[in-house]
Symmetry: C2
Subunit: 241 residues, 2 copies
């Protein structure tokens, strides 16, 4: 697993983005995933209040963005670059799906600076810009409708980069979860249930079918807590009166 | 692998979204991933030109959105629901990370209708709404900055649902890729290279060090095509004159 600092070596490069709102949304998308290095190649309109508004709490990413005149300038100092493309091209590089492409780029970030390159909202990257990038990536989409918003494409790739680079560990545990019931406590509950449903006439002990095994399976899936067993046994006791 | 039709049984539910732009962006995010069933619980402003604008080519998803008065109404007919949460709660369900949560929900969609539930942009879901959902999911983010835009959260989850439910197959192959060079052709190139650099004085045959093995390894990574071998050998021949 790469150290999270590999995220610090990843440049997110937007080539000639048309809409400042997308730049802001992309900055926010980056920051939620721990990426901070934004490069803008010849942005049409930037800075802009729409970019600031869409960035929300990520205005620092905008403030630190590097403005470049060309993709070549943005790639200076990198050891690898992955271009996002949505269309097939002639004389092309074999594209990879986003997930393995992100894993590869995150791994390469251990060795030096790398870049993830996105094109203009409508035109994408020029053939020349694509040729500067060693790897190409595609986001798998519906066959009939592939039109991802630019900032959404940035969000998906930044998420995949983080998933590749950072071990999130277990999700936060629930603070209020009770202690799990022991095997004996669950068995005692099942025995109690069986006696109660026989006494009530619901279960005919001569024809038990699979009632109790089915209830056992249901309790197993629930992963009963001690407190829950106590509550259920209290209910059964009240029914038995 | 679930059939793509499992995507058709997944409802994307937005509870009390504040910003119509987010509703439109969410619709577009859904459609790119093959999801079409949008449910809006008490949206503040809808329909709205901002929603239409942000939906881009997904206005049909907006047009077919079901407006509901409550989350309970939106969940009617479902067999499972997963709530997106970003904060820890008391008396909570154990949350899962987005990827396994999406895989589980996609699998449950084989059995019936399911729902993925998102809350308001600032307040999230109420405790009561959360309690209606069997599963909870968390998107892994940077520890210091967790504030994902609502439509971005929808995009990530719809992407994960698609990744779980649909086998994308291999990426599109490159049409212009040439035939791979054969083993013998590559060996002949390496031999030619060796002769040329000895003849030029670059390589001392008494002290070859690891020059040729290193070039062999480089060619191996490149995966040479026949045409490339021809070109390289033509260059070597021109140097040898």
């Amino acid at each position: 697993m790469s150290l999270p600092s590999s995220l610090e070596r990843i440049r997110i490069v937007l080539c000639q983005p048309s809409h400042p709102g997308n730049i802001g949304a992309a900055a926010r998308a980056m920051k939620t995933m721990g990426l901070t290095r934004l490069y803008l190649v010849a942005p049409k309109i930037f800075p802009d209040p729409q970019a600031t508004a869409m960035a929300a709490g990520a205005v620092d990413v905008l403030a630190n963005a590097r403005i470049c005149a060309s993709l070549a300038e943005a790639l200076t100092g990198t050891v690898a670059a992955t271009a996002l493309t949505s269309r097939r091209r002639d004389l092309a590089t074999e594209p990879a799906w986003a997930r393995p492409a992100a894993a590869q780029l995150a791994a390469e970030a251990a060795s030096g600076e790398v870049a993830l390159v996105f094109g203009n909202e409508t035109a994408g990257l020029s053939n020349e810009e694509l040729s500067l990038c060693r790897h190409w990536a595609l986001i798998p989409t519906d066959r009939e409708f592939k039109s991802l918003n630019l900032a959404q494409a940035v969000q998906i790739l930044c998420y995949e980069l983080r998933m590749a680079a950072v071990d999130a560990g277990p999700p936060p545990t629930v603070t209020e979860a009770g202690a799990p019931a022991s095997h004996e406590e669950v068995e005692a509950l099942i025995g109690h249930l069986e006696r109660a449903v026989i006494a009530s006439g619901f279960l005919d002990p001569a024809k038990p079918k699979r009632l109790i095994p089915r209830m056992r399976r249901m309790f197993a899936r629930a992963g009963l807590e001690k407190e829950e067993v106590n509550i259920l046994r209290g209910m059964l006791s009240s029914f038995e009166k």
